[in-house]
Symmetry: C2
Amino acid sequence: MSGFDRYDKVLRLFTAQKSTWTVAEISGELGTTSSTTYRTVRELVAAGLLESTVASSFRLGPAFLEYEQLMRVTDPLVRSGAVFLETLVEQLDVPCSSFLARLYGEKVMCVAEARTPNMTLQTSYRRGRPMPILRGATSKAILATLATRPRERLVHKLADIGPEGVAELFAELQSIRKSRLSVTFGEVDTGAIGIAAPIENKPLGINASLSVVLRAEDFSEPVKARVFSLLSTNAKLIENFMDDAQSELERRSGAA
Amino acid sequence: MSGFDRYDKVLRLFTAQKSTWTVAEISGELGTTSSTTYRTVRELVAAGLLESTVASSFRLGPAFLEYEQLMRVTDPLVRSGAVFLETLVEQLDVPCSSFLARLYGEKVMCVAEARTPNMTLQTSYRRGRPMPILRGATSKAILATLATRPRERLVHKLADIGPEGVAELFAELQSIRKSRLSVTFGEVDTGAIGIAAPIENKPLGINASLSVVLRAEDFSEPVKARVFSLLSTNAKLIENFMDDAQSELERRSGAA
DNA sequence: GCAAGAATCTCATAATGCGGGAATCTTGCA
DNA sequence: TGCAAGATTCCCGCATTATGAGATTCTTGC
């Protein structure tokens, strides 16, 4: 194990299913001696990424909240979410959730969300939760606008749907690229409809999507028209907002 | 530089004031060669803690959102906030903000917050933001319930108020320990009143506080009575909630 | 197609992490 | 209070890894 891996391996053990680990468990899982594990854990505790709790076990530490707050203030996409999502779901005027999601390794991650108070449907997408990249409107809108190379690599690596399924998926992605809209029915959550518009910012290296999830029975023609229109315009607004945020940043650092 | 420090030093460069760094800037700041810096940054990017953006610079990466989401689901104190704070501010029925804060190194950090819709006063406390430990009701409630050793160490290390000021502070902390309530006037934000109740869970190693901030002019006698009573009861409720969460955890891991 | 900068690679050297086991510190319990 | 049983840190020789300087390759804008 080398470099940062040694720390990453430890941190990745902490999951929703098992959120506290003892040194003995970590050692067992990673095959290291307790001497080494203690040293590694101690360093992570010092940095605030872990903290000790009862029964000589450890949990994730407060530094993550600190960095998350920092991203909330500085990350262009996260900030866009805070600015646009609330208004978007209000204007949609139908029970729904809205998400800003982005590529994260070989997954898709939601970085901001908003929902109408009356949205009862539980959605799998949630801020900070990695989701599969090949299923759902949110993911497909992102996948569609990736550069050809990484797109094909991801599809071929992750698709387990046979060659005809892959061809079909590529065709769908092409059509999303054209219409700049992705619509899926119950691919992630049954009874839910997902509609997404891609968001790109090549210089910032951002591939993302703006999406709305609502109940199938609410998806009437007028709602559909409203969703399509608001998604398209808001996606553009967010692209512009990120450009502006970037210029602002450059202006400030240039002046400093 | 040794161990995790090398990564921590890089990550700590990213602040609200300067949220993107080039390799050259990092090298300059840390006194390392670009060769070394590139390697370090590459590892952090691979782990999702950094990501590259325009102009060969880097910003904080999405892994922080992932870990934050994990804490939101698993951390006993954070979860307590989600359960109790909304109801608390509703019942207070006066424009206010409410916080759950905890010790974080030599600072205090808010880990959950809620505010009434009509709360106009801007408060310095914000989720994920480290705050000084010697000023404000929120901080003093935590400081008061620390074990004697660390409490005295922190006060003597951080207080720049002369020996009589220190004595005064210790007296105030003692009285907070007795009454289990801390009240301060404009110590952090002018025009604001802070009221806090300590929250302890020795086995979990948690030293925290539940606090409310409101405008000085709203702090009438009936409001005061309501705040005191609700803070005390909710602080106890949260202590119990964390005990229960812990038992639940042990039960589950015992059953697994 | 070219140049300027960004990013990676190579390699000898210096520094650091590693495991095993001893030593020390906590903590629960009698 | 004293005494185990863990939990945690310390120590040290050895193996591994990081480091810096510079060459090399890759990008990107013009």
